[in-house]
Symmetry: none
Subunit: 222 residues, 2 copies
DNA sequence: ATGACCTGAGACCAAAGGGTGAACGATGAG
DNA sequence: CTCATCGTTCACCCTTTGGTCTCAGGTCAT
């Protein structure tokens, strides 16, 4: 999934943001990876973004956000809080084992994120109708206008159809899963964020696959 | 995601709001960052808004709201509100019947509303800690800035104490229950909506009684 | 060796970040 | 209405940063 350099850079960025709250500039990354030119950094960043590990605002200084870390964030990186979770214990005969939280979702998160269970949430089954459901933790602020904030957990019903106006998990080009409002525009499909900072993206019908439909949202306050 | 200046300003704004409940004016921010002109502040604010850290109402005085803090709110202020979601281990059975929804709540709802149960919701008990809980349906848009919309169901833990900054159910003059963010201002108590269209109301300590504290929120999509 | 391909080096440029000062406009209280 | 407060915008300036381009050196399979 990642080359050694990409992983190194990603971990460095993550480290810097965690420590200082400020993302590094291209020049700083250049120094950190011991390069003399930032053109390489540029290529690495692009690759990381394409693979869904990073998000950035183009043409903005220090506008990087780490969306997820490589599987083995092994390098001494103290686990991100969530990793302390131990899914094992849950075996009390009752059917209420909760439904799986399959990962984080935002603009730019690849499908792989939907494979690994990162936790479970006990969802009241009166929220769930029939059908298969899963949950995702929302990363980022792209749906802020719809009252869905960073860190919220959304409950998704697995389906491959949705109506215009529904909020869905959509897979674009088999690569990138994203939570957006779906609009049908003639033959095309528009994926619309609830945040003016993000622009609506329009795709041909064959590039977008609906993976599920938002049925509920749960937020917890500390 | 942020530059150093942007972070500095964001933390300052957050600090000010947390302390006084009132967002600083452009001039005050100018002073705080040691600038001679406030147009720089304006640009920083714009950048923070674009990056999703702030929300504001244009042409309104002191109408800023901090939506999220940088990953490292390094300055000794880790409380980071509602941080990464941590699914806790599923406990034993749920208390079967769910918890009661006691009514709707908004500005202007009389206490009586808290007596009649209008429904029940099955709440995942990993959202609930110890203690007595109840639920309310939110009416109105007074907390829209905190991502709480009309029709949402909020889970409240019964308590009569709360910290400044908590979202609470407060009873004013034994008459009117309302869901607001609580601020302690010296001896007085401010109840603050997350919607600049509503103004913050300030009361003497004897006029406000905290009835509970927001612990979670559930929204269902049709 | 040859060419395709990758990566880093270095230079260059356009644009964003940020500071200043002044003028302009909207808001809200009296 | 009038006025003070406060947000908004503009022009001007310099610095920082991101994006791009070309070139030079590797690696690898043919």
């Amino acid at each position: 999934m990642l080359t050694a350099k990409q992983k190194e850079l990603l971990l460095y960025i993550h480290e810097r943001i965690k420590e200082s709250g400020v993302s590094p500039s291209f020049d700083e990354m250049k120094e950190a990876l011991d390069l003399a030119s930032k053109s390489g950094i540029h290529r690495l960043i692009t690759a990381l973004e394409e693979r869904g590990f990073l998000r950035r605002l183009p043409h903005r200084a220090r506008a990087l956000e780490v969306l997820k870390l490589p599987e083995s964030a092994a390098t001494a990186a103290p686990p991100k809080g969530r990793s302390t979770f131990r899914p094992s214990v849950v075996a009390d005969g009752r059917s209420g084992m909760g439904i799986p939280i399959l990962g984080q979702i935002a603009a730019g998160v690849p499908i792989e994120a939907l494979q690994n269970e990162i936790g479970r949430i006990q969802a009241p089954d009166d929220l769930l109708g029939a059908g298969d459901h899963f949950a995702l933790e929302v990363k980022g602020d792209s749906m802020i206008g719809a009252g869905i904030l960073d860190g919220d957990v959304v409950l998704i019903k697995r389906t491959d159809t949705a109506d215009s106006g529904d909020i869905v998990v959509a897979l674009v080009d088999n690569e990138e899963a994203t939570l957006k409002r779906l609009r049908k525009r003639g033959n095309s499909i528009a994926l619309e964020a609830a945040n003016p900072a993000y622009e609506t993206r329009i795709f041909g019908p064959d590039r977008v696959r609906v993976q599920g439909k938002l049925v509920a949202m749960i937020r917890r306050y500390s």
